[in-house]
């Protein structure tokens, strides 16, 4: 069965100091966080802040991805050719999405450093980053609730948590976390979530919403005007302004549509839908 890609904030993931190793070949390993995320695979969207080749010889790219609560470390070597190639040319700062495997490095007994080995990495836009933050808040909150339930049980039971409607993986993770971490501080994660949500206080969302709507309108305009030759840039902007859109918003929207390949420019100054 494919392991789901968990949504976990760096602030929670980096606190993990427990690993469940797969006992047999092909049984998966998991990093267990104090709040009970049982992570074999992760999905992360954040800001790529720096990239460095840390190998003495050959390639081992280390990159840091920042989210509102902390920083993820990711490592890509020769066996992660796609991600390694991406990182070798990546610009910083930029928004990236990563799907990767949870890894743990244990330099000595009792000390564990967690990181992520990417399977996929690509550049994304701010909307997807914001979406990831709210999604991760939601998942963190669900783990908080499961953890509270489990703390109230004597003893904590995977079966009972499942009966309450929690997924198997959440139930197992929470029960495992309670057995290995002393005094799980659930309140701390409430703080983590509010920290993440404070990211949105700056009024960015209004803008994002506007842009999304502008894109739809502009796409309609291009379709109306394009004919066989393509629509003139100025014509689109004029029509956009008639439709109540500001000039720079029209241009932003057009650029965004072109970035995604929905609109292209076969001849300079003329635009067509793909």
């Amino acid at each position: 069965m494919r392991e789901p890609a968990l949504r976990v904030f760096a602030g929670e993931y980096n606190e993990a100091s427990h690993v469940l190793k797969g006992e047999m070949e092909k049984t998966p390993s998991y990093v267990i966080t104090p709040l009970g995320a049982k992570a074999n695979r992760l999905f992360i969207v954040g800001v790529l802040t720096d990239v460095e080749n840390v190998a003495q010889e050959g390639e081992m790219w280390r990159a840091h991805i920042s989210d509102p609560t902390g920083i993820y470390s990711i490592y890509a070597g020769q066996y992660q050719s796609g991600p390694a190639a991406f990182l070798s040319q990546a610009e910083t700062p930029s928004y990236v999405a990563v799907v990767g495997k949870a890894r743990a490095y244990e330099p000595e007994e009792g000390t564990i450093f967690v990181s992520v080995r990417p399977e996929m990495i690509k550049e994304v836009d701010a909307i997807l980053r914001d979406y990831w933050i709210v999604e991760t808040c939601r998942h963190t909150y669900a783990r908080m609730e499961a953890m509270k339930e489990a703390i109230g049980m004597n003893p904590p039971s995977v079966y009972k948590l499942k009966e309450l409607g929690y997924p198997q993986l959440t139930a197992e993770g929470v029960v495992e976390a309670l057995s290995v971490y002393k005094d799980v501080d659930v309140e701390h994660y409430q703080f983590l979530i509010s920290e993440a949500l404070s990211h949105f206080e700056s009024g960015k969302i209004e803008y994002v919403k506007e842009l999304g709507e502008a894109e739809k309108k502009i796409l309609e305009i291009v379709k109306q005007c394009e004919g066989d030759e393509g629509a003139l840039w100025d014509e689109i902007v004029d029509n956009g302004e008639k439709g109540g859109l500001e000039r720079n918003l029209v241009e932003e929207a057009l650029a965004a549509l072109m970035d995604r390949g929905i609109v292209y420019e076969p001849i300079l100054g003329k635009l067509k839908t793909a």
């Binding site: 069965m1 494919r2 392991e3 789901p4 890609a5 968990l6 949504r7 999905f43 969207v45 999405a97 799907v99 399977e119 996929m120 690509k122 994304v124 909307i127 997807l128 914001d130 979406y131 709210v134 999604e135 808040c137 939601r138 998942h139 909150y141 908080m144 079966y159 499942k162 009966e163 997924p167 198997q168 993986l169 959440t170 409430q190 979530i193 509010s194 949500l197 949105f200 969302i205 994002v208 919403k209 999304g212 995604r260 390949g261 929905i262 839908t273 793909a274």
Partner: protein, 537 residues
């Protein structure tokens, strides 16, 4: 030199060990003699001896003599041992029980003699009884050794049961690479209905009442599940059993997974078809179709006419579920109760609730599911493909595995992994949904492939006028521009998907019927979380 010395020492320790063993075997002998006379025992202790060789601690078994007073129960045992006559009176009832179980297979004297022998050896009475029964009957259970299904617990072994087969179906499974036929079903008595797996063909049929000996119980979904193995005996009987009328368990449709019994659902009958099937020599009418509530839809089979019709909202009590073609199915027969409800459930509400992916993975499939997740992977084989005009299979290099060399019909598809953080499913998007998600057309992608030199224009002779007759390479298509374009457009994006899900060895796959890119409602989501957090304080 150092090495040789340590070798010598190591050998030395070995001979000491040998000596100790000798002494201990004598002690052991003495222990046997002393045991009854003195009421003392000598116990064994394991001592770790560090040898020089390799400096690794080794565990050597050594007996260290020590004296332990007998516990009171052992003293009692000894007393009983010396008073055999008194004991035989108490054993009278046990002997009778054994005689009931073995019938004429043994004389009472033999049974009594054997039983005493076991007890003299210190075997507890209950175990001794079972041992004697086994010795004469081979069948270890009298009627009193039978358990009611309601009291069966996971890990019970050597179970004797009397039950009625409620349902049974044949399955083929892989056991260490070998195909094996097994039988799954439900067995019930007055106290419970449990699921079972028969690992060989016992010829079980629905409504058989069977006496089962030497079954064992495992656990599945938190309930005991019975296993009938190579060593289990199954015998049909004429007993009649009134199946338990326990309270039906209410489920929403999405939570129905194969192997549930006594299920209660409140659903709308979306479709209904009447069919004739042959059961043995009899012709029987069955009613099949699709039903659902707001959480999802499920296929059903009714073995009885309940006088309900398409569009009715009904309550069904006492149904069970099984797996049919990779998805769960609800089955009910004359033992079930079906009643019409006055409730209104508009068709467009049925199955419209968004479902967490883990639920689909746990149920192993479903019909007309609504899911929302992120495309975290677009797999090889996605993009522009060519299909055989005869069998619709995807072809490679212009050759179909079934129909040989054919002129392929271009098509689009995406094989992706959709993941919502609780679970992951494979999703297969067809041309329509691919075009909808990417905002591009098949024609557009063909142009893209031809222009990049990855696909020859002759692969499709129409629609690509200006590049017609291009002489690029052999008639094959590399993964490339189209697949990459799809990856760029879709990976990491949230999508809303509607489709049927089924499971196989590789997990659960959703055959997508409709799909949209989700425009994240970030503000609303954020407000929802804030409201929850407020409530938590």
């Amino acid at each position: 030199m150092v090495y040789a010395e340590s070798r010598k020492l190591a050998t030395g320790s070995k001979s000491i060990q040998f000596l100790l063993r000798k002494i201990l075997s004598i002690l052991k002998l003495l222990r046997g003699i002393f045991k009854h006379l003195l009421g003392i025992t000598i116990c064994a202790k394991q001592v770790a001896v560090r040898t020089l060789e390799g400096q690794k601690p080794r565990r050597l078994s050594m007996f260290v003599p020590c004296f332990m007073p007998y516990t009171s129960s052992k003293i009692l045992y000894l007393l009983a041992h010396f008073n055999v006559n008194k004991m035989s009176e108490d054993l009278g009832t046990v002997v009778d029980e054994i005689m009931n179980a073995v019938g004429s297979a043994a004389s009472k004297e033999d049974v009594e003699g054997n039983l005493k022998k076991f007890i003299e050896y210190g075997v507890p009475v209950e175990q001794a009884k079972q041992a004697v029964i086994k010795k004469y009957g081979g069948i270890g259970f009298s009627s009193s050794g039978e358990k009611k299904l309601g009291s069966v617990e996971p890990n019970d072994k050597r179970l004797g049961l009397l039950g009625k087969i409620v349902a049974v179906e044949e399955r083929e499974v892989d056991v260490k690479g070998e195909k094996k036929r097994i039988f799954r079903g439900l067995i019930g008595d007055e106290t419970a209905v449990l699921s079972f797996t028969a690992w060989k063909d016992f010829g079980l049929e629905q409504d058989d009442v069977v006496r089962i000996k030497n079954a064992y119980a495992g656990e599945w979904g938190g309930q005991p599940r019975l296993n009938f193995s190579e060593w289990t005996e199954v015998e049909k009987t004429d007993d009649s059993i009134d199946l338990v009328k326990r309270k039906a368990q209410h489920y929403t449709v999405i939570d129905l997974k194969p192997g549930l019994s006594n299920v209660e659902v409140r659903v709308k009958l979306l479709t209904m078809e009447e069919r004739d099937v042959n059961v043995g020599d009899e012709s029987k009418k069955v009613y099949t179709g699709l039903m659902g509530d707001k959480t999802g839809k499920i296929r059903y089979t009714s073995w009885s006419n309940f006088d309900v019709k398409e569009g009715d909202v009904v309550e069904i009590k006492g149904a069970y579920t099984k797996s049919w073609r990779g998805t769960p199915q609800l089955v009910f027969d004359e033992n079930a109760k079906v009643g019409k409800l006055d409730e209104v459930m508009p068709v467009e509400m049925v199955g419209k609730e968004k479902i967490s992916i883990y639920k689909i993975v746990e149920a192993g499939g479903g019909v007309d599911l609504n899911i929302e997740g992120v495309i975290i992977e677009v797999q090889a084989g996605s993009g522009l493909i060519y299909r055989c005009p005869k069998c619709r299979r995807a072809i490679r290099d212009g050759v179909c595995v079934i129909d040989g060399e054919v002129e392929g019909i271009p098509d689009l598809r995406i094989k992706a992994v959709v993941d919502d953080g609780t679970g992951a499913v494979n999703a297969i998007f067809d041309r329509n949904t691919t075009e909808k998600l990417t905002g591009k057309t098949l024609g557009g992608y063909e142009k893209m492939a031809v222009q990049s030199g990855e696909v020859p224009a002759v692969a499709r002779k129409t629609d690509i006028g200006e590049v017609k007759g291009s002489t690029v390479g052999a008639e094959e298509m590399k993964e490339g521009v189209v697949e990459n374009d799809i990856k760029n457009l879709l990976v990491a994006h949230p999508v809303h998907v509607v489709g049927n899900a089924l499971s196989d060895d590789y997990g659960v796959t959703v055959i997508v019927q409709d799909a949209d890119i989700v425009t994240p409602a970030i503000q609303e989501e954020r407000d929802k979380i804030l409201a929850k957090m407020e409530a938590m304080k």
